[in-house]
């Protein structure tokens, strides 16, 4: 089936992602920020779908929107909102922030202007139907070692968290 109204959906999802991204950093209430972040992640999942990567989109929804953000909310809900809203932001690092934003913006503009030359001839037609299989072949074939190292790293992090949280094991 041919894709329909591709440009419309791209700009729609991009707008959703950017607006909710801005809301994440401007809302004073941390729960509202977390909810905006979930919306941003969902918009990103939609963008993955448009790139013919349904598996990545599904994993994004399950892991980030459904798993990690629920844990975020779980912690944030226990914070007293009234007190948190009255508190001053204590990290006065706007010089570094502006500098980082300028560098990142410059990078984005550079890629936007020269993007065609940088990534020329790399347009691979990824069939949607075998996306999951291709990811599996890459993860458990070519990049097996890197994949296992990454999972080992996560295991170390889990054990570390348990050791730090529990007094007696």
């Amino acid at each position: 089936m041919q894709p329909v109204a591709t440009t419309f959906f791209f700009y729609f999802l991009a707008l959703v992602t950017v607006i909710s991204g801005v809301l994440v950093i401007t809302r004073r209430n941390p729960v509202h920020s977390a909810l905006a972040l979930i919306l941003a992640l969902l918009g990103q999942a939609g963008l993955y779908l448009m790139l013919y990567a349904p598996f990545v989109a599904g994993v994004q929804i399950i892991l980030y929107a459904g798993g990690i953000m629920v844990l975020f909310l779980f912690v944030i809900m226990l914070v007293s909102i009234e007190r948190a809203q009255k508190e001053e932001q204590f990290n006065n690092m706007w010089v570094v922030g502006v500098l980082a934003a300028l560098v990142l913006g410059g990078l984005f503009t550079g890629v936007y202007v020269k993007g065609r030359d940088l990534f020329a001839g790399r347009e691979i037609a990824l069939p949607e139907q075998s996306n999951t299989q291709q990811i599996a072949v890459l993860l458990y074939g070519n990049y097996m070692f890197a994949f296992e190292i990454a999972s080992l790293l996560l295991l170390v992090a889990i054990i570390g968290a348990v050791v730090m949280a529990k007094k007696r094991i």
Partner: protein, 416 residues
């Protein structure tokens, strides 16, 4: 126009794959309608069956045998005052029930009621269903937090902890079923809901009976986890009425509360249809290989009509048993009319063209209905878990079993 419709009736793909927007829209409407009817029926059945389990009569006043009770309840909920606590967070309070309902209904896009009876067939079907239904916990958490009250917050905390814990066991059970789809000559599995049922057809066994106790154990893990995921007894701690009044939806009333109710029941149907698709052969009729042939096909295709005729017979038996007092005349006639409607539907289902087309939907719905009965049965028989027991079951029993089943399935798959 008529040719257009008949040509579609013979199509062998889903409307989503064919890119047919009109048919996809009709399918969505039909599924929405069917779900609403199923939720209404479940509401009545749950109260009746629970009542009979506890040697009570259940609703008897509104309509014959309380048949109109759900409709009366719905009208009551619609005209009830909608209260919002003054200290609540209005926007979050307002969106929480919407999110719960949206996620509960969206998953039905990929549910395969038959080889062609699904809105669309996604390449990542199971992943999509699990992902979208895992979003429903967000609505629960938002509802609990936005109410700005103690009991809802406790309910929301319990709910998020419970969902995150049981999702892992559920995922492991699902992976072992998805792994079974890859045991074919090409060695490629599939995540698509239709593909999974076709794999069971090709391997001529339901995955619950594959590698005998293994499939059954994985199914058991899923069956326990899915009750916990839908917040139903014995895992209904987020809304434990004896401890938290009504848990996360304590502060909701009227229409918003009814949205939570609707979402709970359609989520139950959604997870049951995942279980049916993964382990119980989806739309496949019983014994498609052992009892194959023209005659058996005919016999099994008569089942939908016979079921409706049996229901009509039961209704007419109740009509005969209605009290003869003139006060009950209207109720008796209404019940007889309902029975006649059921009988008429049954007769229509015997027509050859309809029969062939409806069979798949019937077997799928019958299996899901079995799960719905189990849900009511659990609620009638099991006492509620304590929270530490709940965590223990999730992390120390279901998770290791799920991991073990996955590893043994993988080993057997390589060895065979």
């Amino acid at each position: 126009m008529i040719e257009y419709i008949t040509s579609y009736l013979k199509s062998d793909t889903t409307p989503g794959q064919a890119g047919n927007f009109l048919w996809a829209f009709i399918y969505i409407l039909l599924i929405f309608l069917g779900l609403s009817v199923a939720v209404i029926a479940m509401n009545w059945l749950e109260r009746k069956i629970l009542a009979h389990m506890q040697v009570r009569l259940g609703p008897m006043r509104v309509g014959p045998h309380g048949l109109l009770q759900p409709i009366a309840d719905a009208i009551k909920l619609l005209i009830k005052e909608d209260i919002m606590p003054s200290e609540s967070d209005p926007f979050v309070f307002w969106t929480a029930p919407l999110i719960v309902v949206l996620t509960a209904f969206t998953v039905f896009i990929v549910v395969p009621f038959g080889p062609t009876h699904a809105v669309t067939d996604m390449n990542i079907g199971v992943l999509f269903m699990l992902g979208v239904s895992s979003l429903s916990v967000l609505g629960v958490v938002m509802a609990g937090w936005a109410s700005n009250s103690h009991y809802p917050l406790m309910g929301a905390l319990r709910s998020s902890a419970q969902m995150v814990s049981y999702e892992i066991a559920m995922g492991l059970a699902v992976i072992s079923a998805v792994l079974m789809t890859s045991f074919n000559p090409s060695g490629t599995g599939t995540l698509s809901m239709i593909g999974i049922v076709q794999a069971q057809e090709a391997q001529s066994t339901w995955f619950i009976f594959k590698f005998f106790p293994l499939g059954l154990i994985a199914f058991f893990v899923f069956a326990v986890a899915m009750v916990a995921e839908t917040n139903r007894a014995p895992f209904d701690l987020p809304e434990a009425e004896s401890e938290l009044t009504a848990g996360f939806h304590t502060e909701y009333s009227g229409f918003r509360w009814s949205l939570f109710f609707l979402a709970e029941y359609s989520a139950m149907i959604a997870v049951s249809s995942i279980a049916v698709t993964l382990w119980l052969g989806g739309w496949l009729r019983p014994f498609p290989h052992w009892l194959s042939g023209e005659t058996w096909d005919l016999v099994f295709s008569l089942f939908p009509g016979l079921t409706f005729l049996a229901m009509a017979g039961l209704t007419f038996y109740s009509v005969a048993r209605m009290p003869k007092h003139p006060y009950f005349r209207a109720q008796t006639m209404g019940l007889a009319g309902f029975g006649a409607l059921l009988g008429l539907i049954g007769l229509v289902l015997f027509a050859p063209l309809v029969r062939d087309r409806v069979q798949d939907i019937y077997w799928f719905a019958a299996k899901v209905a079995g799960f719905m009965y189990l849900y009511i049965w659990y609620r009638g028989t099991f006492p509620r878990y304590r929270f530490d027991q709940l965590m223990k079951v999730g992390w120390k029993i279901l998770l290791p079993i799920g991991l073990g089943v996955l590893i043994v399935t993988a080993i057997l798959g390589i060895a065979l």
